[in-house]
Symmetry: C2
Subunit: 414 residues, 2 copies
């Protein structure tokens, strides 16, 4: 416990100091990180190679091993994201609302850092640089705890970032990484509710559930994405096919990939055969009974399918009777992540946008377009499926709180 | 459990329906509440009289009995607040941010209701009308659970509001009240994490702690207010005296009343004697050693005093060595609620505003001016001392979430 306690206490002290530093200091620190990482590139690649070898020897599944690996292009991507985050406008000190009372009392709601953010994540090393920079951009101190398999890699990454911070004038403990492997460190972190303001777990549903249920620290949760596209009665054929393919196949293992296709009863006969033909050999379709009238060769979809995030080239397909049934199905079986409609009819689009209770609702756009990048955030620490505080992509702005600042000249309450 | 489960399920269904109704329907329902309450005024007063008598017989402390009572002026105040909330602009559907990408993809962040809000409160009956109207204004369904001592009163209030809702076209279960006394109903409510999106407990620290630690539902917490005023070296004498008296005495038992006065070492000799004289007989002062050099007759303040929310005409007083020590003291001993500075020096004011880590930071204004009323919210369900989601007064805007709405024309991810 004691080492985690020290980390947490140091983070809190750093957060207090950070909250009084100007944005230009934070910006300079993040902007200095790419160079600092370039200076240790060889060391980083050796550490990463070692992590990858150990993971393979330990029998980790190959897709998980792949996630660990920092290829040259991943490295470049990490650097470019740091530069992007550095260049974003300062999320601290924004005037969110405000007014001046007739008696001259000035009331302003101004964004301030949240404080200390703990990031608990699995193996992707790019989370280390993304999360540290996004937290810091919001004026927060960050405690990183990555997967044990990538500990060597993460330590090199963190040390380079810490060097950039200290040389730019940030407190030494603005960025910290837990340097011990094993689950005990996580259990200890979960008890640091006196020091850590919010935890962001990134990983599988099990990890997130375990963390959310095991701590009194507020948790920004990022559960699964069971994303839908609803093809309305008037959905244009080509657009429908393009959107299905892009939403499903542009990247299959991510949370905003399409998992369930809803086809209006009025367009099923027109759209299902050409869609099936277009995706043939690339996507396995599973259909409800009505779908199978038009596509008798595909296997039936069960209730289980409507609740499954495949993260694989499988797509469940259901015929629905109008927008209201589509909305009901999405609100019942979806995960509130990202859902879209394909239509040219304005009233249908508005009805769908209003009725679907999800963090992103798209009209005529690929589900893959929901996310921090396309929403202009530079980088994110995750995509919240919560409704409190942050919903959808969690970027620098979402990692701020606010305070009310009031200026008067001896104003009293009567 | 079953009755609470039914209430929670009905609330969730009502919330879904509410989220598709227009703001004018919600506004009409709230605007109809005063008339609906006026129609049952006699019944209400009889029920309230009965609650008050029972509480007195049960030996409840007289100040607590007083809180239960709906006098004529309290009743008028409740009605005027309902009218005020009805007249506020709709907090749902605000475009919080947005941009259009060069390729024409329109991205908007739009406020939506949170869903189902549970309010667990102690005896003040005006919470019943305030909370119901504020939650409803934000498009939410609300489950009210007031103190058992005021159950008769609250049922009459709730039934009148429900009548106004139903007659205005809101779902029957938009407003619900738990009609059974006893703690078991609360324990059951805390288990409704599948249906309730957020809980707002209102009452003593013990109640709030018990609720926050006993549920997986997110809780907007409202802990104590250990509020400070810091009189800087240049604080004008008259303004300082007026602000101390108004902050401390305008109402002593509320969370934004002054509890601790910090006097700069450079102004202690000049300010302490006239302040002591001005409050003599009205406020009991307790001082640190340096204070007692100037005011030898007052009792010493202990470490305990710096951490105490008196809610009584007592004020702890400490001499501090400049703004940085004031800031440090407030960030260490304060509760992050409301703290102010008295100064005419711009740099000192800015330094204080930046350094104090509280939800409201005031310059030359009474601490009693922090709150929903003075911040333009109409009415609030509480004052959050959390940093996540809502900080400070929680009004209709704070009881909304948001969703990202994206319009395209076949936009794909490349």
């Amino acid at each position: 416990m004691s080492s985690i306690l020290t980390i947490a206490q140091n983070a809190k002290a750093a957060a207090l100091e950070l909250s009084t530093l100007s944005g230009s200091v934070r910006q300079a620190a993040i902007a200095a990180m790419p160079e600092s990482l370039l200076a240790v590139k060889d060391e980083l690649m050796r550490a990463n190679q070692k992590d990858v070898e150990n993971a393979r020897e330990a029998g980790l599944d190959e897709p998980l091993v792949k996630r660990l690996e920092i290829s040259g292009s991943v490295f470049d991507y990490m650097l470019s994201r740091l530069a992007k985050v550095a260049a974003l406008p300062d999320p601290v000190g924004r005037v969110l609302e405000g007014h001046t009372r007739p008696d001259g009392l000035e009331v302003r709601k101004v964004s301030v850092p949240l404080g200390v953010i703990g990031i608990i994540y699995e193996s992707r090393p790019n989370v280390t640089t993304d999360a540290a920079s996004v937290c810091l951009k919001g004026g927060n101190a960050v405690v990183l705890r990555g997967g044990s398999e990538s500990l060597r890699t993460n330590i090199v990454l963190a040390d380079a970032m810490i060097r950039a911070c200290v040389e730019s004038g940030l407190p030494e403990h603005a960025v910290q990484i837990v340097r011990i492997a094993g689950h005990e460190a996580v259990s200890d972190l979960l008890r640091m509710d006196d020091y850590i303001d919010v935890l962001v777990p990134r990983g599988g549903k099990g990890l997130i559930k375990r963390i959310a249920e095991g701590t009194r620290i507020p948790v920004i949760k990022h559960y699964e994405g069971i994303c839908h596209l609803y093809l309305a009665e008037d959905a244009p054929e080509k657009m429908a096919i393009d959107l299905v393919i892009n939403s499903k196949l542009q990247k299959v293992e991510v949370c905003n990939a399409l998992e369930s296709l809803l086809v209006d009863a009025g367009s099923a006969e027109r759209l299902l055969p050409p869609i099936a033909q277009a995706v043939s050999g690339r996507i396995e379709l599973r259909g409800c009974e009505s779908v199978r009238k038009f596509l008798p060769d595909i296997p039936p979809a069960t209730d289980e399918d409507w609740m499954t995030e495949y993260l694989a080239p499988i797509l469940s397909v259901k015929v629905v009777d109008g927008p209201q049934e589509a909305i009901r199905h999405i609100n019942t079986y979806g995960s509130g992540h990202t859902d879209g409609i394909v239509t040219q009819d304005l009233q249908r689009a508005r009805e769908f946008v209003r009725g679907v209770n999800s963090s992103s609702v798209l009209v005529n756009a690929s589900t893959r377009l929901s996310g921090g990048g396309d929403y202009g955030m530079g980088a994110v620490v995750g995509i919240s499926t919560d409704k409190l505080h942050a919903r959808g992509p969690v970027g620098p702005n979402e990692l701020t709180s606010y305070k009310w600042v009031v200026y008067g000249q001896g104003h009293l309450r009567r």
